[in-house]
């Protein structure tokens, strides 16, 4: 459930003066990539109280405020599916990292660590990312750790959806055989499947379940861990497993079918070798379309043509382009995929609606009546990294595109007659 605190947000934001309120707005004359259709269309979008209430292809609906997007491409705000936004400020500085737990494992949630004032948030928003899924670091357990969805509106009244996904990883590591890891995942899923509602009634009853299971005792499960495993099976919680090797993907598909998992595979550098199996079993993929490096012996088939090839095979694709703090580079990755043969509309979907569908973000990721108005107006082709957003609307609010980076820039190119510390 989205914690929709939109009205309260508006009140806070207007007093903040960082954002311009707009309860009633029309974006007219836009070339709309809606995230649903492959091809764009010309139209006018009416937004009331943050929600798209009308899309007209003919006359311009009346609104208090009008934004003319003539000649501009608009897209849904991009949703980054694999980030550490809000929980890691500086990678190599542990005191700014909140992506790891020391006691909880499978049930570890990063949700309450999210910092909406992180400088990464305006930076990624100004580059067209309006919301993101934030994931913890992988734990010692092959599956475990919960990620959450966040709006990147920089509001202390955080709009989020908590614990919408569990993560895991599988492959060669040098510590123990992948066969053991697979057996362990299998045992954990078997334990999760054995849980019933009665077991979950209280922490005391969960403690009993743990005591009765040699696996749960051995792995030192806590009630939070068991609750997360219960949700994995009973709520069909999306499970992202990072893996690459073709034979490993096949093994995960077997597990998916045994336990009816809502499985998403991330990385998947050898997916092209098992594309048909992936498509037949409806497994969405989070891939890095720009990564063609055989970076491990699990990723030998790594190939720049993989993403276009998977699209042709019919796979549901999403992107992660891990370049430190620049989660927005998923659009550069999308551009590289298109340069190598992916369809343009397909690339836009990979940045928007495919993420929303996969993670059940029901009112986001596409421009349609009833959806929240997360909309970006681009100065030119959004898949050209040299083109930037001209406007970024989140929940229909025209957000500030100033970043710490543009502030620092201005400090060193203007008012140079003043000592730098006395500049703005």
């Amino acid at each position: 459930m989205i914690k929709n605190k939109f009205l309260l947000t508006l009140i806070i934001l207007t007093s903040n003066s960082v954002f311009l309120e707009s309860s009633n707005l029309v974006i007219k004359n836009a070339e709309i990539y809606d995230g649903i259709e492959n091809n764009p269309y010309q139209g006018h979008i009416l937004i009331n109280d943050g929600v798209v209430t009308k899309i007209s292809k003919t006359s311009v609906p009346y609104a208090d405020k009008v934004y003319d997007a003539k000649g501009k491409i608009i897209t849904p705000g991009f949703i980054a599916p694999d980030t550490q936004l809000g929980i890691v400020e500086i990678g190599a500085l542990n005191v700014t990292r909140d992506d790891e737990a020391s006691i909880y494992n499978i049930g570890f949630s990063i949700h309450d660590a999210f910092n909406p004032n992180s400088v990464l948030i305006p930076w990624n928003r100004a580059n067209g990312i309006t919301s993101a899924i934030t994931l913890p670091r992988n734990t010692s357990s092959p599956i475990g750790g919960l990620g959450s969805f966040f709006l990147l509106d920089s509001s202390l009244d955080i709009s989020s959806e908590a614990d919408i996904v569990m993560i895991g990883r599988f492959g060669g590591s040098g510590s123990s055989s992948r066969a053991e890891k697979l057996a362990l995942i299998d045992d954990m899923l078997s334990f999760a499947s054995s849980l019933d509602k009665k077991d979950m009634s209280s922490d005391a009853s969960i403690d009993e379940v743990i005591d009765d299971s040699s696996l749960a005792s051995h792995m030192d499960f806590k009630p939070r861990d068991v609750k997360a495993l219960y949700r994995l099976i009973n709520d069909n919680l999306p499970l992202i497993i990072k893996t690459h090797r073709a034979s490993d993907i096949i093994k995960l598909i077997e597990l998916k079918n045994t336990y009816n998992l809502n499985l998403i595979i991330m990385g998947a550098q050898e997916a092209s070798l098992v594309a048909d199996e992936i498509v037949e079993n409806n497994i969405p993929l989070i891939v890095n379309p720009i990564n063609n490096i055989p970076n491990s012996f699990d990723e030998l088939a790594s190939n720049i043509n993989m993403t276009p090839m998977l699209e042709k095979a019919g796979a549901t694709l999403m992107f992660n382009v891990s370049r430190s703090h620049n989660y927005h580079l998923i659009r550069q990755g999308a551009g590289v995929a298109v340069a190598n043969g992916m369809s343009y509309g397909g690339a836009i979907k990979a940045l928007t609606s495919n993420v929303a569908k996969t993670f059940n973000l029901n009112n986001r990721g596409s421009i349609k009546v009833g959806n929240m108005a997360d909309i970006v107006v681009w100065e030119a082709d959004p898949l050209e990294p040299s083109s930037m957003p001209e406007k970024v609307f989140i929940n229909g609010v025209d957000t500030d595109l100033t970043t710490r980076s543009t502030r620092l820039r201005d400090r060193y190119i203007s008012d140079l007659e003043k000592p730098n510390t006395y500049r703005n």
């Binding site: 990678g91 720009i290 490096i293 055989p294 551009g335 050209e384 820039r409």
Partner: protein, 458 residues
């Protein structure tokens, strides 16, 4: 008798030293593909944009560039209408070969992180020539790359410049007559690596002391060497040549202006400190690398004739990389009336394949900052400027008549994400051809997934 032995000893050393330089380049180009490109759009790497222009490459060199050039029977004619030509792209900061793919311990050979000063090591002695990454970079238009040791050490060792033409030995890839370079590193990395072991340096002031102590040793070594070399032949016979010291030999090479200093350094204040140290010991810093804060001291860099090799947008992975400004490259370029030297570098096996797009991002940020910078000038950031920083600008880095024919033919304007390198020439020989499928593959790629195919064969 004894004197005769001494004489013979020195004579033999003399012979060996004069006739054999170890690790010389044995590079030989592929057979030339003499070609006339018709009606191309050209960024020449000298800041010029030439529309509907012809280019002739012959016997490895750029022979002519102009409108309606006469053809001849020995030239293959390529219609380059609506296509773009640039010089071969040069990456001034690569770890290909020393951090090859796959990234595994057994071939991770970029940092001799066992002592804070290892000026004696040479990156070329670590390079794995079967790294599958060279061919990928070639498909991104990279014809020359400069490999540096990593940044764990204050003074990490010598770098090497290579042609991106994969061969069985590093000597046969080395760029002929390219000067050697020296990797130095500021900031968090050396102080973290050695500080964590409870040894010096554990602070930035420890870093600074470390460089200065090394240069003092180098000065002393150099003066002994100078003193010996100034002696007459007779006097040399009667004295001992100073014992070779690999570490100090490298540092003395810097003090003699024979070895170029490439200095990993993020923070503006540290770069200013490094400039002071260079002045104290009278050596030149060729380029600061990564330099996320270069924009804060762009004028100082321009005044000291120091290039800054930068990313378009990486930041935040370390505290010293927190103050990222996307216009960094443009601000450096425009300093002191456009006399700054800006370079877009990769330091990355993926980034090296897309340096044209990285330059496009940096240019876009510069234009947004209010600078009037042309695409033709931005092309210098990945061609002539890195050539200058590698000391090979007299041979490559721009399409000037007489220079090496290192040429890329692009499907579209190379500042577009959709542009693909269609043909890449190194020394006038075709090394990659997208349409015919001509591309190199390393031994690593052969039969490793399917025995009858190469790794990424379609």
């Amino acid at each position: 008798m004894k004197n005769i032995y001494i004489f013979l000893y020195f004579f033999s050393v003399f012979i060996v030293a004069e006739n054999y330089e170890p690790f010389e380049s044995t590079y030989e180009p592929l057979p030339p593909t003499n070609t006339i490109f018709r009606n191309a759009n050209i960024y020449d790497g000298e800041g010029n944009e030439l529309i509907d222009t012809d280019l002739i490459i012959k016997d490895g060199k750029v022979v002519a560039i102009g409108v309606d050039l006469p053809s001849s029977s020995d030239l293959k004619e390529i219609d380059a209408t609506d296509k773009w030509i640039t010089p071969g792209i040069i990456d001034i900061h690569s770890h290909m070969g020393v951090y090859p793919a796959p990234s595994v311990k057994t071939s991770s050979d970029g940092n001799e992180a066992t002592s804070p000063v290892t000026a004696e090591v040479w990156a070329e002695h670590s390079i794995w020539v079967q790294d599958p990454q060279y061919a990928l970079a070639l498909k991104g238009g990279v014809t020359t790359f400069h490999v540096l040791p990593g940044s764990a050490n204050l003074i990490g060792g010598r770098g090497v410049t290579a042609k991106n033409l994969q061969r069985n030995t590093i000597n046969s890839m080395k760029f002929p007559n390219a000067p050697h370079s020296l990797k130095m590193a500021c900031g968090e990395n050396p102080k973290r690596v050695y500080g964590n072991r409870g040894q010096m340096p554990s602070t930035r002031m420890g870093n600074a002391a470390g460089y200065r102590k090394s240069w003092i040793k180098a000065e002393s070594y150099l003066s002994k060497l100078d003193e010996y070399e100034a002696k007459s032949e007779e006097a040399k016979e009667l004295s001992y040549k100073p014992t070779r010291d690999l570490e100090l030999e490298t540092l003395a090479g810097v003090l003699r202006d024979e070895i170029l200093v490439h200095n990993h350094c993020y923070r503006a204040d540290e770069m200013a400190t490094m400039i002071e140290i260079a002045k104290e010991f009278n050596y030149k810093i060729t380029a600061f690398h990564h330099a996320v804060e270069a924009y804060k001291i762009a004028d100082l860099l321009a005044e000291n004739n120091i290039c800054a090799a930068l990313w378009a947008d990486w930041w935040g992975f370390k505290h010293e990389a927190y103050d990222m400004v996307q216009a960094n490259i443009a601000i450096v370029d425009q300093a002191r009336n456009g006399t700054g030297c800006a370079i877009v570098h990769s330091d990355d096996e993926i980034g090296i394949q897309h340096l044209n797009v990285e330059a496009a991002k940096a240019l876009s940020a510069g234009i947004k900052a209010g600078y009037d910078i042309s695409k033709a000038r931005a092309m210098n950031w990945i061609t002539s400027n890195p050539a200058k920083a590698a000391g090979i600008y007299d041979q490559t880095g721009s399409l000037k008549v007489g220079k090496n024919a290192d040429v890329v033919l692009w499907s579209k304007n190379p500042f577009s994400i959709y542009a693909l390198a269609e043909k890449v020439y190194i020394d006038g020989a075709i090394a990659f051809d997208r349409s015919s499928g001509l591309e190199p593959s390393s031994d690593f790629d052969v039969g490793i997934i399917n025995p009858s195919k190469n790794r990424i064969e379609e």
